[in-house]
């Protein structure tokens, strides 16, 4: 138990520079070691998942509001960009912004209805929301191409049109670093403490003047729009999207990354994303067994490291005697 700290100890929050530096260095040198486009693609997918897991962790891990429909917002962003750019010829940058705002507005409207729910009821409501979005995407064939999917045009921003895995890699790597910084800033800010306080005790948070309903809504809107932005960008990168991007299994995958990697931990979300994005690649040749392995990892982690891998291990290092 580390109870012997003097005042100055507390006043200097844990330095975040080493972790950030390490990740930046890894991201910088990684392309040198990746032999071909296939591996770059895997790295990009990991970065996409990591960013999504971080935004979802703000909601689930920090604020304590479970969402089983996060992929729905990713799908909104992806299809929003795809439809606006291809059917209406709208500039991709504008399409991205419009999609993100649309996702945010939808989240804001829905939040009033469902964020009053707790626990399993909230799980059910967010699950329903995600499924409704994916059903709409699957069935509005005229707009979305239905189950067969649709192709997405190139992305252009400030006159630059990224092409090829290598250029896209730098975009998503930068996005990951920026997201880590923003999330860590938020967690360590008054707003971030308010979110965590309403997770810890909603009555106490309210008694301290925190408008819990407003904070829940705002963090829901934030994570939804962020997910939509990532959805837009990944749609442009992939060049072709199917309704699977918004479907329930994708939502579950994202929640899994958060929970296995570590709830209420930015690094946990990143680690979970790396682990669970690599796993299917490693197990791809054992058809069927990958599902079993995935399930076993979930169950075993949750039973033996209930707080997730990163926080549990960090706890071990900080308090070896505990």
């Amino acid at each position: 138990m580390s109870t012997s700290g003097s005042l100055p100890d507390v006043l200097a929050p844990r330095s975040r520079a080493p972790g950030l530096l390490a990740v930046t260095v890894v991201l910088m040198v990684l392309p040198v070691f990746l032999p071909n486009a296939f591996y770059l693609d895997v790295a990009i997918r990991i970065a996409i998942n990591a960013v999504l897991a971080i935004t979802l962790n703000l909601l689930i891990g920090y604020t304590g509001q479970i969402s089983l429909g996060h992929a729905g917002f990713v799908g909104l962003g992806a299809y929003g960009s795809a439809i606006l750019t291809s059917r209406w010829d709208i500039h991709p940058g504008l399409a991205l912004v419009v999609s993100a705002i649309a996702a945010g507005v939808l989240a804001w409207v829905i939040a009033g209805l469902i964020l009053r729910f707790k626990g399993h009821y909230l799980a059910m409501a967010t699950l329903g929301l995600g499924i409704i979005i994916s059903i709409v995407i699957t069935n509005e064939t005229v707009w979305t191409g239905g189950p067969d999917g649709m192709s997405v045009g190139d992305f252009v921003m400030f006159g630059w049109q990224p092409s090829g895995e290598r250029q896209w890699y730098w975009i998503f790597a930068a996005l990951l670093v920026v997201t880590i910084v923003l999330a860590q800033n938020l967690v360590d800010s008054p707003a971030g403490r308010a979110l965590q306080a309403l997770h810890g005790s909603e009555v106490a948070a309210r008694a301290m003047g925190i408008d819990t309903a407003s904070f829940k809504t705002r963090v829901f809107v934030l994570s939804a729009s962020y997910a939509a932005i990532i959805g837009s960008l990944s749609a442009h990168y992939l060049g072709f999207i199917t309704p699977g991007i918004a479907a329930f299994p994708h939502s579950v995958e994202l929640v899994t990354m958060v929970v296995v990697g570590g709830m209420a931990s930015v690094w946990g979300a990143v680690f979970g994303a790396v682990l669970l994005s690599l796993l299917p690649q490693v197990l791809a040749s054992f058809e069927g067994w990958e599902t079993i392995a995935f399930g076993v990892i979930l169950v075993v982690t949750m039973i033996f490291l209930p707080r997730g891998i990163v926080p549990s291990l960090a706890g071990l290092f900080r308090r070896p005697e505990g």
Partner: protein, 254 residues
Amino acid sequence: MLKVSHLSKSFGGVHAIEDVSFEIPRGGVYAVIGPNGAGKTTLFNLITGLYVPSAGSISLAGEEISGISSNILASRGLSRTFQNLQVCMNLSAVENVMVGAHLNLNSSLLAGMIRAPGLRQSDRACRMKAAELLTFVGCKKFVAADASAMPYGALKRLEIARALAMEPKLLLLDEPAAGLNHTETHEIEELIVRLAKSGITVVLVEHDMRLVMSISERILVLDHGKRLAEGTPDEIRINRDVIAAYLGSEVGET
């Protein structure tokens, strides 16, 4: 400071509080006592906006506050602790106290994400003040601790420190000495006296009669949700109804 008139609250036909009136003067310690189930915590929850009264009114410094939600009441200078601890176990001790200062800080999500100018300084000052408050309530050695690593007695003080971080005018303490040993109770007693001296009006729900009698200016006695008596400790001590209620309840309980 606080005026409660004809306040009633019923849950599904059961009267938890029935036609209770009293007035808390500014400054000093005001205690609410009564046997188990007398409605003390319900009264606190009504005053702090967790429950909406069925009837009656509550006014704070002359303004009607019944039915106003608790986060708004906090901005009017009303703060409280909880009978069943409501410490945020996912935060550190200092962060818990900093939560109490929420209303004084810029709590925009965007400002937090981009670490807006000024935020770093104000947050640092807040952290410093939180550490001081923890020291003030006697939790100096837990300043760097996680809340989940603190013992019960320290958590009770942590809640007081958090409530103080709000710089309240009116502070409601719900059984601050419950579950504490003799020494700890004595320390809490000293702390409450210090708080009252610093100009905060303290309202106290407490079972420890010695504590209540020694530090309260006035006492409200509730029984079965009704006002049984109100007065100075000396008046309450010799009140026949109060004695009867306590004896009766003790016979009934044990």
